[in-house]
Amino acid sequence: MKLVLKIWRQKNADAKGTFATYRMDDVSPEMSFLEMLDSLNKKLVEENKDPVAFDHDCREGICGSCGMFINGHPHGPVPAITTCHLSMRYFRDGDTIWIEPWRAKPFPVIKDLIVDRSAFDKIQSAGGFISINTGAAPEANSILAKKKNADDAFDSSICIGCGACVAACKNASAMLFVSAKISQFALLPQGRIEAKERVREMVEKMDELGFGSCSNSGACEAECPKQIKLTNIARLNREYYKAF
């Protein structure tokens, strides 16, 4: 099928950036979105032009690297999947597709569709861990945990840190991400030990980096490729008040 792509091009972090239009004539509906971009880049390199830079790694929906705003939705119009899982079958012959990077002050654009998401790493370093001695581990079954809590912690832990929540949020808030990372520990006994410090430090870091606050709008949950729920944000709030 034929497609018109409007893609954000930005040479580097200091450049202004603008949209460029590309016409694709031969896109197979069997292709994934990133494969479609690959074929665009092949053409561009053959014409000795600068290919479109975009993040990707596993192409399996699990690493959190890929991420672009496609026709008004992070990761595209199909719910609960990442960009790498988006199939071209969801687009029609003659469609125009707008492709932009995540827009948020804490995610500065590095080049084209690649943004710097080290802000997330900084939040994680501030508290997204439990402190234990490595080199040995206690017998796992000696620390009892409720199955429901373990299941809920698992559901929170599948956050891949892609940043779609920040990108979708009208306030560029990172609350869904931070709450998922806090919840996965808050629900388990090993995480309770440092629960107060964790939530205080991570929220402080989140604010410091310039993410917005939460208006409970729900765009994050709707667009999250891993279907992380708003209940995590409620849990973060409860943990925070307990930590006053």
């Binding site: 008004g72 009208k170 310039g210 917005g212 709008s217 849990r235 925070y240 008040y241 006053f244």
Partner: protein, 214 residues
């Protein structure tokens, strides 16, 4: 300690508490205002006098004023901060599924504030002595205002916008306070519908009745 008290989460917490306080206050105000519909001014006057003189009420009045100030200040502060979090917008538009009225809280809030200012000039400032008028006879003041068509247009518009503000506010306050529950959250959301329709409808009823049917 400052970092915790003034973090984004704490600011939202304070706004939610203030908002809940206001949500409790509105039905009380509506209940008293409904007495304006009686042809006898005495019940309204008695109620107004009670509210003006009872010591506990006076304390709550100060708390209410403070809550309003905090709610508005933090609201504006956070909105500006949120605007700054996305300096470059999405040229292709952002179609992420968002709760609709949550996007306009600053605007519906601004309309509430506008009405509040108008309301203070019409009533509260008379009571405080800043504006000329009879603080003992708000019944007549109200009835006279409701005779002016323009006042009613503004009044009704503001209360519709208040309803839109309250619709998101009600559910949002619970979520911000961490009160999310498998069963009770749907109940809260249903209550939000009821509240956001009934309270403004109650005030609108007074306006329309006194304007068109007396």
């Amino acid at each position: 300690m400052n970092k915790v008290l003034f973090s984004s989460v704490s600011k939202k917490f304070t706004m939610a508490l203030a908002g809940l306080f206001l949500l409790l206050f509105l039905p009380v105000h509506l209940a008293i205002n409904l007495m304006l519909l009686k042809s006898d001014p005495e019940p309204f006057k008695k109620a107004a006098l009670f509210m003006a003189s009872f010591p506990l009420i006076k304390i709550i009045e100060i708390a209410l004023f403070a809550m309003i100030l905090i709610h508005i200040s933090w609201g504006i502060f956070l909105q500006i901060q949120n605007w700054l979090s996305r300096p470059v917008g999405y040229a292709g538009g952002n179609r992420s599924e968002t709760s609709f009225f949550s996007k306009f809280m600053i605007w519906t809030g601004a309309s509430v504030l506008t009405f509040l200012v108008l309301h203070f000039f019409n009533f509260y400032f008379i009571k405080l002595g800043f504006v000329e008028g009879d603080p003992e006879d708000f019944y007549s003041v109200a009835h006279n205002l409701f005779k002016i068509p323009a006042y009613n247009y503004i009044y009704l518009a503001c209360f519709i916008l208040l309803g839109l503000h309250l619709f998101h506010a009600f559910s949002s306050a619970f979520q911000t306070l961490g009160l999310n529950h498998r069963i009770w959250t749907p109940v809260v959301n249903a209550a939000a519908w009821v509240y956001a329709i009934c309270i403004p409808a109650g005030f609108a009823f007074i306006s329309i009745t006194l304007w068109l049917f007396r």
